[in-house]
Symmetry: none
Subunit: 249 residues, 2 copies
C-alpha cells in the first residue's frame, strides 16, 4: 500500500493513502493508558486508529481493519510478540511494524526483526519519536520516490529525518538526540506558537516527571547552535510559548 503526502495551508504535512483516504494504524498494547495516549496522538496526525489489548484481538482487528502500519508491544499477556507478528504477517505480509519494547529487553531478538524494514522504540518513548518512526515506516513501505519528504525546511534551516542531519545556511550543525527532536517538533509546526506543555508532552517521554524548565534549557541550547550570531529563527512568545519561523520575515 503506497502513500502520498499533501501539505495543508497550515504548513503541516499529512500522510495520505493513494486514494486520498487517511492512513490506518493499529495500536497493540495491554496497558490501556498507552493505547489511549498513542491513539490520541496518532489521531491528531490525521490518521485512523484502532487499538487492541492482546495478540488475539490484534490479529482479529488487523484482519478486518487492514492497517497500513502496526504499533506492537512485544510484551502481551496472551502471546509472544513474535507469534503475533507471524500471524499478522500471514494476513498482511507487507505491513510495517513498529515494536515497543522495554528498555532492558534483549535487543538481539529485535535486531533480526528490524532487518525486514520494521523498526522499534523503547519504552518509555516520546510521542514525537513514535510518530516520526511511523511516518518513516509508512513512507518507505509505499512509493519509493518520496525521499524529499524526509527533509524539513524552514528558511535556510534544513533537517533531514532520515540521516538526522541539520544545517543552517549550508553549514552543518551537530545536535544531540533531544535537541534534534525538539527542533523537529518546532519545524513540523512552523510559525505556530507551541506552549511548553505541548513541547514537553510531545518531545519528552510520557513518564518524564521533571522540571518544566528543561524546555527552556533546550531552547537555550538550540539557540546557541542554530541562531548563534545569525538572524534568530527561534522566538519566545512570553506567557505563550515558542515558535520557529524563517529569519527573513
Amino acid at each position: 500500500m503506497s502513500a502520498m503526502t499533501t501539505t495543508s495551508p497550515q504548513g503541516r504535512t499529512e500522510l495520505l493513502r493513494p486514494d486520498g483516504s487517511p492512513v490506518r494504524v493499529l495500536v497493540v498494547d495491554d496497558e490501556l493508558s498507552i493505547t489511549e495516549l498513542l491513539s490520541m496522538a496518532l489521531r491528531y496526525e490525521g490518521w485512523q486508529i484502532r487499538s487492541a489489548g492482546d495478540g488475539t484481538g490484534a490479529v482479529q482487528t488487523a484482519r478486518e481493519f487492514r492497517p497500513d502500519a502496526v504499533v506492537l508491544d512485544m510484551m502481551l499477556p496472551d502471546m509472544d510478540g513474535l507469534t503475533v507478528l507471524g500471524r499478522l504477517r500471514r494476513d498482511l505480509p507487507d505491513v510495517p511494524v513498529l515494536f515497543l519494547t522495554a528498555k532492558d529487553a534483549v535487543e538481539d531478538r529485535i535486531a533480526g526483526l528490524t532487518a525486514g524494514g520494521d523498526d522499534y522504540v523503547t519504552k518509555p518513548f516520546s510521542l514525537e519519536e513514535v510518530v516520526a518512526r511511523l511516518r518513516g515506516l509508512i513512507r518507505r513501505s509505499g512509493a519509493a520516490d518520496r525521499r524529499s519528504d524526509s527533509v524539513l525546511v524552514v528558511g535556510d534551516l534544513t533537517l533531514d529525518e532520515d540521516s538526522h542531519e541539520v544545517s543552517r545556511a549550508g553549514e552543518n550543525i551537530h545536535l544531540t538526540a533531544t535537541e534534534f527532536e525538539l527542533l523537529r517538533f518546532l519545524m513540523r509546526n512552523p510559525r505556530r506558537v507551541l506552549s511548553k506543555a505541548q513541547i514537553l508532552d510531545r518531545v519528552w517521554s510520557y513518564d518524564f516527571g521533571g522540571q518544566a524548565n528543561v524546555v527552556e534549557l533546550y531552547i537555550s541550547y538550540l539557540r546557541r547552535k542554530i541562531d548563534a550570531g545569525r538572524e534568530p529563527m527561534i522566538h519566545t512568545r512570553r506567557g505563550a510559548g515558542y515558535l520557529i519561523k524563517p529569519a527573513a520575515s
Copy 2:
C-alpha cells in the same frame, strides 16, 4: 466532526458545523458558578451548551448530546479527570477536550494531555482565553484547510491566533499577552462598542480584584502600538466604552 465558519453581517465570525447547525459544547465542573459563567459566555458565541456537575453526569450527557467539544474540570467530586476522559473517549473518540486545572496543580499530572491535540487552561481563567482555546480545538478537530480562520482582519490590521503575530499595514507589532487578548476581543467584535465592564469580564480572569482603570491603561498601551502616528482605529465612546473599526470609514 468538521466545522466551517460564516461571517455574519455584523462582522462577527461564527463557528458552525458542516450542516449549518450550531457547535455543541459540554461544560463539566462541580462549581455551579463556573458552569454558569462558562455557559453564558459560550452561548454568547452562538454555541449550544449543556453542562454537568460530575463525571457520571458528564458521560451520560455526552452520550446523548454528542458535543463537538468538552470543557472538563480535572477536579470532580466523583471521578478523577482522567477517568472521565477515558469514558468520554469511549463514546466520542475524537472529541477535543479543554481541561480546567488549578494553577498550582499544573505540574501535577497534566502530562500527555496536550499531546493528543487537547488543551488546558488554569483557573482562574479569562473567558476570552477559554473561548479562544475552544475555537482552536474545534477548528483543528475539523476540516484541516482553514488557515484563514486563525487570522482576524480589521482594515489593515491583522492578528494571527496561531503565531500570535499582529501587524498593521504590513508592519509587525509586538504585543504582550494581555494586550494581545484585549486586541483579539476588540477585533472579534469590530464596529461594536464594548463597555469597560464587558472588557474586564472577558479579558481579565474572573477573580480579578484590581482597579477598573486597567482597561483604560491597556487601551492606552494598544493605541501607542497600533494607532501611533496613524489614522486611529480604536475609538472611545465616552460613557459607553470602546470600539475598533477600519481607519478608512
